[in-house]
Homo-oligomer: 342 residues x 2
Amino acid sequence: MKGKPTSFDIAYKAGVSQATVSRALRGSPLVSIETRRRIQAIAKEINYKVDKNASALRRQHSETIALLLFEDPTSDDSLINPFFLSMLGSITRASARRGYDLLVSFQQFSDDWHADFQDSHKADGIIMLGYGDYTEALPKLQRLVEQGTHCVRWGAIVDGQPDVSIGCDNVQGGYAITQHLIEMGRRKIAFVGDVSPSCPEFAARYRGHCQALEDAGIVVCADWQVEARDSTEPVGAEAARELMHRDAPIDAIFAASDLLAIGAMRALNDRGVRVPEDIAVVGFDDVPMSAFASPPLTTVAQDSKRAGELLVDTLLQQIQGQPTASQMLPARVVVRRSCGSR
Amino acid sequence: MKGKPTSFDIAYKAGVSQATVSRALRGSPLVSIETRRRIQAIAKEINYKVDKNASALRRQHSETIALLLFEDPTSDDSLINPFFLSMLGSITRASARRGYDLLVSFQQFSDDWHADFQDSHKADGIIMLGYGDYTEALPKLQRLVEQGTHCVRWGAIVDGQPDVSIGCDNVQGGYAITQHLIEMGRRKIAFVGDVSPSCPEFAARYRGHCQALEDAGIVVCADWQVEARDSTEPVGAEAARELMHRDAPIDAIFAASDLLAIGAMRALNDRGVRVPEDIAVVGFDDVPMSAFASPPLTTVAQDSKRAGELLVDTLLQQIQGQPTASQMLPARVVVRRSCGSR
DNA sequence: CTGAAAGCGCTTACAG
DNA sequence: CTGAAAGCGCTTACAG
């Protein structure tokens, strides 16, 4: 036998038709148990593998999911957000468990990417991890859905969104962490992060934050909210400097992401401000490095394992033609030292 | 038109044969420029995408690379090594630039994974990132190569290895960082990490380490080398405790990875040993969190961007039937504070 | 339970 | 430069 073996080779060896081989290997109940076993044994022996291209072409689906990671076009070789990385891990595992392969692609949210994978039949659906500016992404999401692309987004649930998304409960997470700061005796809490509709996740965290303050009878001070366009360490440092520049009499900072928080802590430290003694700092995401920050960062953990499973399962339901709905996962405060505990 | 458009739909609209459409879209020089343009315009208009399954089936290659990440079967939901994560990023980008899609899979190095992707025609070749225990992986690598699987491994270059691998120059890296410690006035340097053939990367780092000591006229003390089976933070902490338990009169620790180094620093810190005043600590990899460790960790950086490109390019050469050879990339010392600089 | 046959949507040698 | 035709390796309705 030259080249890769085909189902015809097996049929010949087993003395059956090629159709029977195909049925046996797909586990069709139409094949007698004995024939099936014989065919399977031969397949194993000659190391036969079904040609996925032929199979996908014929069946019109590829048993493959495309994972699209948004790549900021401005920062060329920027690090991937470590939180997305752990999501990637859990999505990979979850799809493998469901028997799906995972195609990973870093996309600049440019004009033509949408649905390419599904249109070209390389994938049966898309999971979107990060999408840049929500207001910019919106029309593209709309088009995606209109074209009938199976697609699930990781991110906030937004009023009137066209697509299905899975996200953590950002409002609850923001509420819980602010409440924790209040319990630790902090009352003048700054918020670092973009709260515009461009970033509905951060906006939701801010809403939870404000709610917690109000529920504790604390007036929200607009001056203590600092924009931070990107969620990176230097931007967090810059935001903290801005707060010091404003002479804000704060005793805590809630940064909308861990990377921002770590940057803020560094800036404070550089100026001789002690964390948490002078100013407590908390973040959001619980990325691995947060545990190693100095001081270790109190933050809000999202359940990335559960999230990955939910993303995959929701997408598979969509692929199977079932209706799907957006869902939120609970967020959990992880207390370490930067909030002044202990 | 119902369903996805095919090349026949375009042929009909353009008034040419389907074969001509296929040629035009693949950029064949056999098609007149005018016809090509007309066809391209129509394709764009009706949002036609070539069916990759049909194309791959006919052409017998998928323009897809499979990336296999080794998953430790023991630790269920362990974090992926952050260094591999940045490799993943650079491999994704490099393959995208070459027009290849990337299939990502976490594999337990079990019996049957080998070559599955290529046998089933889902991928044209494999990049292996992490492979667990080298001595255990060896027979499997051998089989892979014998079966004619196109495959490039990230890792050490080992005498007599059956496959092609791309790795950083671990000996040189180990040499350079130890030399740096010596320049900082340290002479009694412990090494934390597995130096058995199971882990040729760490073994090579150790060889470089010993060479640097010898070149400085320092006798290597076998008692100051501590095994560390996994490359994780708790294992690093345990190793540091072991060194203290042995009452080793050391003034520095070279940990074979950043995770080990960070763990070691934590253990030292817990016992009131100051880093770097009492004991300097250095690592290897330059993972993102190392910059945020306290003190910031001096380490050896590997060029993951270049590595990703080299892995992809080497694999593509193999796929094109060209001969390929293993290659090493230089490693670079990154000086921060844990080594006692400044 | 099994086989013969059609067909998934392309690519490419062959003929003109 | 273009077209007609074969064929990549499966899956599955259809017939028995």
